[in-house]
Symmetry: C3
Subunit: 258 residues, 3 copies
């Protein structure tokens, strides 16, 4: 079987491509598993500073691979395995230590929308459209997949997409803050490159600290004393001293990740 | 006493009309009770697929019926009864098994805003305005009513409406995602009809499953194994098989609710 | 040492000015302490009805005073003290009994953004810009400071500002509901004055009740019976009776805070 997830790494940027363009990058079970594997590997890789998720061709991803549902998701046992794999891949994206960015053209539907919603940043062009009209397919979204969508999009927008089966265009998605920003098709790659440069200009470990605290604060429980102390892990790093020094000397910092 | 809540049902669509136009549909205690009753009945009714809430005449609802406050809400005991009734009606809307849609013209103020915020989808025309300037009346919103507002509108927008007493026009409400969308007055009925058609095109039980999971995931507690299994209730339905088959055969599905 | 926090009170409006314009109102430890002190005093002051936070000159505040970090925040012990002071000042703003309004021009960055996010209402002019590009300085935001930002701005916008280090202009901040509204520079003072007038037109105690319930409902725990009863504290006030009476008589109410 050909791998339908491509992985490329260059100068701190990992690019994960959903590569099934004849099916508008519909995601099958093997792809979900591979997606989880490459994201978890990228998360552990010290050479990676930023992960860009993108679809091959004109679309991000049009959803799950429905044909498989008749064979690989036919029983309750299968369904639990299948969707825990999907949820596992989404959790891997959310827990990735490095900032994740979805670069979105065309259809960002169903599983594609779930992936994009679990990324930290979503940049799209005017061709993008967003939704999950699965009520027309007769099934409901797995709660482990729905949770990420709710965190990013909020209840009202999710209700519109799931209950009404509405598909939002790029402008409406921007108005509802479902995407971070919309650009013209010819500017999409440039905007993503600029975002990656901004991410790479920061100290490497700061991003994973921020991601940790953002996840932690989503839970309504007070911080323990050890957690408060852990929030100052930066004090012992060379990058912190370099960052402050560069600021005082009005020059660009040279971060090493130490 | 004339019933000031009208209920009509036709082809899967239930329409609940706040019908007190001389008072801009100000809602009195009898109306809150009746609202709860008709919504709970619609929720149980298998013939209903979608509930549209609308105000008679040029307004959605201008708030509670203040004259009553001097007689029916004068003591703490009365107030607890009164506002638990209001909160009960709002909870009935939120827990309605079928998608709920507020169709909004003119004033959507106080209790009217509370009702709209508990619906899944809010469509308004350019005449709509939103707020709850009750600080000028010298009383605070009951927490059981405030909670729905916070879930839909978010803390910052609620602060503007409650603390500043600001009333938002349709454009600002759209920018703040307080409404799902705004259309011209002559297009409002058409937009609502289109939304209802989209809802009716989905499998009946999927909507109530989605509504259940959206409410459940608002609580920060992990899913039990039984809950995960329950998320696949669709596997045993004819509608799920019909939905997938129709998709494969590139035709419209014929759902039966089974 | 000159006090770099100025406090003025006039006709129910307290104005707190960050006054360190040579450093674009960068906030040092002494200022955080003083900010907490004046806000806590204003909160207790029955003569105050509304607190406006503003920066002297062309900026709101450009962040913390970084030079101090090398001396006053060098060790873990120092850092815990330092940032608990910052978090304490932010909590004082959030818990202030009276509505708080940030009036924003120019840089609203880092600590400045944290302050603005803890206010109830944010009004800015077109010169405002928002962000926290501290990844370039090599340190992460203290969770006790990050939490207020997440509550107001939401996870997606915070991710853009912290992970990407992006600075948002006024229009984008409005689209993302990071500010309540944007006006032209020449209209900023007028818009803030109008907001203050709207706040002053309300009954004094209603604002603090609403602030209490909004904070309380951010926690996912059911209300106790005593809390439900406490929600009707207004029943025993003269202002409630005056508010209703004025409404019936179609005149402006005269509130006394009793």
């Amino acid at each position: 079987m050909t791998a339908l997830i491509r992985y490329r790494q260059e100068a701190g940027r990992a690019t994960v491509t959903l590569d099934n363009p004849e099916k508008r990058n519909a995601i099958n079970l093997a792809m979900w598993r591979e997606l989880r594997r490459v994201i978890e590997a990228a998360s552990e890789d010290e050479g990676v500073r930023c992960v860009v998720l993108v679809g091959a061709g004109e679309h991000f991803a049009a959803g799950g691979d429905l044909e498989e549902f008749l064979t690989l998701r036919a029983t309750l046992e299968q369904a639990l395995v299948y969707h825990e794999e999907v949820a596992g891949a989404l959790t891997a994206i959310r827990h990735c230590q490095h900032p994740t960015l979805a670069m979105i053209r065309g259809a960002c539907i169903g599983g594609g929308l779930e992936i994009a919603a679990c990324c930290d940043i979503r940049v799209c062009d005017a061709s993008a459209r967003f939704g999950a009209p699965i009520s027309k397919l007769g099934f409901s979204m797995y709660p482990g997949e729905l949770s990420g969508l709710l965190k990013t999009c909020g209840q009202a927008t999710v209700a519109e997409m799931l209950l009404e089966g509405r598909v939002l265009d790029a402008a409406e998605a921007a108005r509802k803050n479902l995407v971070s920003r919309v650009v013209a098709p010819e500017d999409l790659q440039g905007e993503v490159d600029a975002a990656v440069r901004r991410i790479l200009a920061g100290a490497p470990r700061v991003a994973s600290w921020h991601k940790h605290w953002m996840r932690r604060l989503a839970h309504d429980a007070p911080l323990a004393d050890e957690e408060k102390a852990a929030a100052f892990a930066f004090l012992d790093t060379k990058d912190y001293r370099e960052g402050l020094r560069a600021f005082m000397e009005k020059r660009q910092p040279r971060f090493t990740g130490n």
